[in-house]
Symmetry: C2
Subunit: 376 residues, 2 copies
């Protein structure tokens, strides 16, 4: 692979690599930019300008405006997001979940969270179904640790809950041709038939609320934009099935600690897992890619580049909510007043503080995880 | 459509038309002929030469010999057959079920019977899921009316039982590429993704016995040969999944009452449904295609042709088990001693006698159908 190939942007539901151009993604995926006007509407409705909105972590949407129109007319919405449980959760996964919690709290709405153990099994050559089902359980502890409550949070475990999903999935699948699925996902002759069917399962949580409650409301999906093709085809069939089109709000990818690409469980040294111990976190952060210079002397003179720094990115997206403090950190970096080692030490401390609490909550979640299962 | 097109043999899991050449089917499907040697083995093991075997209704197999080898060594098998519930059951459907009952009684083995309401829904443009699920229930009454007992008969209702099927279906689906499925079933760009996945669901009853009981035994499938492609691909993956390859024994198609083709629920006047009333049966039989001549006088002189006669075929395959009597009926037909009207009157009487009893048993089955559901 040449450097040019490595930098070429690839964004599919299964692979994100290269330098991501978010404006180009909006054009290519055919979504709408999250304008200042829309941000203001959200702030007005929620009474809070969430840091992830201020920092423009969310940048794109589909039908968020019409969903808010409906909301203002008294038609609520449900939230829907999920996780492909192919391994342990890393900090990058938590970011949209934290934002989802904010939306849930402010709009007082139900969340359907899909654990796609079936998807990860059919897609990942080497994973066994027991493994993805195990990860689905373990990953759900991370979700619960963020403070979601069973009263309005329904975790869908695909394999375990298939009895609730299958009829809706069949309704969806009947209306999605191979041709459509191929165009959306790049399916090939060698793709297995489980993978080909699976988009019908990912469509279900958009509609399941009506089945469970009789209420007809739209779903709003906070998720990374790479998942958009699933809901694009779901949107095409929603009205034929008598439902609202699902709306989406798309976030950027949090880079791994290496150069480029999103944080990925397949490169463990560049991802901070929620179960990592303090020494591991320190080591990983210490080896992180930054915008620093070859020598301390040079950096003192010319300053460093926070734009390409994975450590700065962590502060920016999750570990420094104070706008003044993040601006000061950026200034000091550019001015060469702080060196990378200081930022790394700070970040490792912040992460370890966070994880220390998170890991306690995560263990407590084992006692209540059953309450998040959908009752029959 | 020209006469030549109409006569061209087409045998797929969804369509059977034209003049069926069974020797050619054995060659094209790559199955084995059911030899006299194998028939003798069955008779020796069962103590009965079942009329459907004597009359060569079953003509082909896969691995029946190795299944009997295993049986003789003490490894039992389970039976598996099923029904696509797209409408009411007609008499043609009952024939392999009656044979299955004989195998079950003689070999004292469990039967898994799959009601594929999901398949019929995704395949048939105009059918709703509630309809196929309704037919699945109604059709199961016909099965039960034949005398199957809940103790060793497990009816799988696909949608209702998906929680039992899905994990095995995923294991199968992961190992079947689109390319393989396309080659076996002729899938196209316009095929919906539910249909494409479905062969994985049809594979499940071959393996479910192990999940339910821990026993590892092969499945023997009595079915019409048009369903062979499903189990051909199942056979290819069985051993990778740690199971025996499913064995099959294939029957001919019972023609409808019109010219050529198998009895089809889509041409109601050429099919005798199990719920038909006596007057309807008389009318349908009276309009049946026979091997008779233009006038009674001509037929008295030259005789008729039982080979192409749908009425004779009904006697042969189901309504005259006595070999001497069927031979005498054939002789009289060829000699012009009986006319078609007499045979039709006889057949309508036989069918109505059968249906009168069947319909009573069918209604009683409503009281016990729940006992055939798989317990959780």
């Amino acid at each position: 692979m040449t450097d040019e190939d490595r930098n070429e942007m690839v964004v599919t539901p299964w692979e994100v690599r290269g330098k991501v151009d978010y404006e180009r993604l909006i054009r290519e995926f055919g979504t709408q930019p999250l304008t200042d006007g829309l941000l203001e509407r959200i702030v007005k409705l929620t009474g809070e300008f969430h840091p992830q909105l201020r920092r423009k972590l969310f940048f794109s949407h589909r039908d968020l405006d019409t969903t808010l129109d409906l909301y203002e007319k008294g038609v609520k919405f449900v939230l829907y997001t999920g996780r492909g449980p192919s391994g342990p959760v890393h900090i990058g996964h938590l970011i949209p979940w934290i934002f989802t919690k904010y939306l849930q709290d402010k709009f007082k709405t139900r969340l359907y969270f899909q654990m796609t153990d079936d998807e990860k099994f059919v897609i990942e050559e080497d994973l066994k179904l027991e493994e993805t089902t195990h990860f689905a359980y373990e990953n759900s502890l991370d979700l619960i640790a963020l403070g979601f409550k069973p009263k309005d949070t329904y975790i869908i475990f695909d394999v375990q809950d298939i009895d609730l999903l299958y009829d809706i999935a069949l309704e969806a699948a009947k209306r999605i041709t191979f041709s459509t699925a191929k165009a959306a996902f790049g399916f090939q002759e060698s793709t297995n038939i489980g993978w080909i069917f699976w988009p019908a399962i990912q469509a279900v949580p958009c509609f399941i609320h009506t089945k469970l409650t009789g209420e007809k409301v739209p779903a709003l999906i906070p998720a990374a934009i790479d998942q958009d093709p699933y809901w694009r085809i779901t949107r095409d069939i929603a009205q034929k099935l008598g439902y609202y089109k699902p709306a989406q709000i798309h976030c950027r990818f949090l880079s791994g600690l290496g150069i480029g690409g999103k944080m990925s469980a397949s490169e463990p040294e560049t991802s901070i897992f929620t179960t990592d111990q303090p020494a591991t976190v320190k080591r990983k952060i210490w080896n992180a890619f930054t915008g620093g210079k070859g020598t301390a002397a040079e950096q003192r003179t010319t300053g460093a580049d926070p734009n390409i720094c994975t450590v700065f990115q962590y502060f920016y997206f999750l570990f420094e909510e104070d706008d003044k403090k993040i601006a000061e950190r950026e200034r000091q970096c550019r001015a060469g007043e702080t060196l990378c080692g200081e930022c790394k030490t700070d970040l490792a401390e912040r992460i370890n503080e966070f994880l220390s609490e998170h890991q306690k909550k995560r263990e407590k979640a084992r006692n209540i995880v059953d309450k998040f299962h959908i009752k029959r």
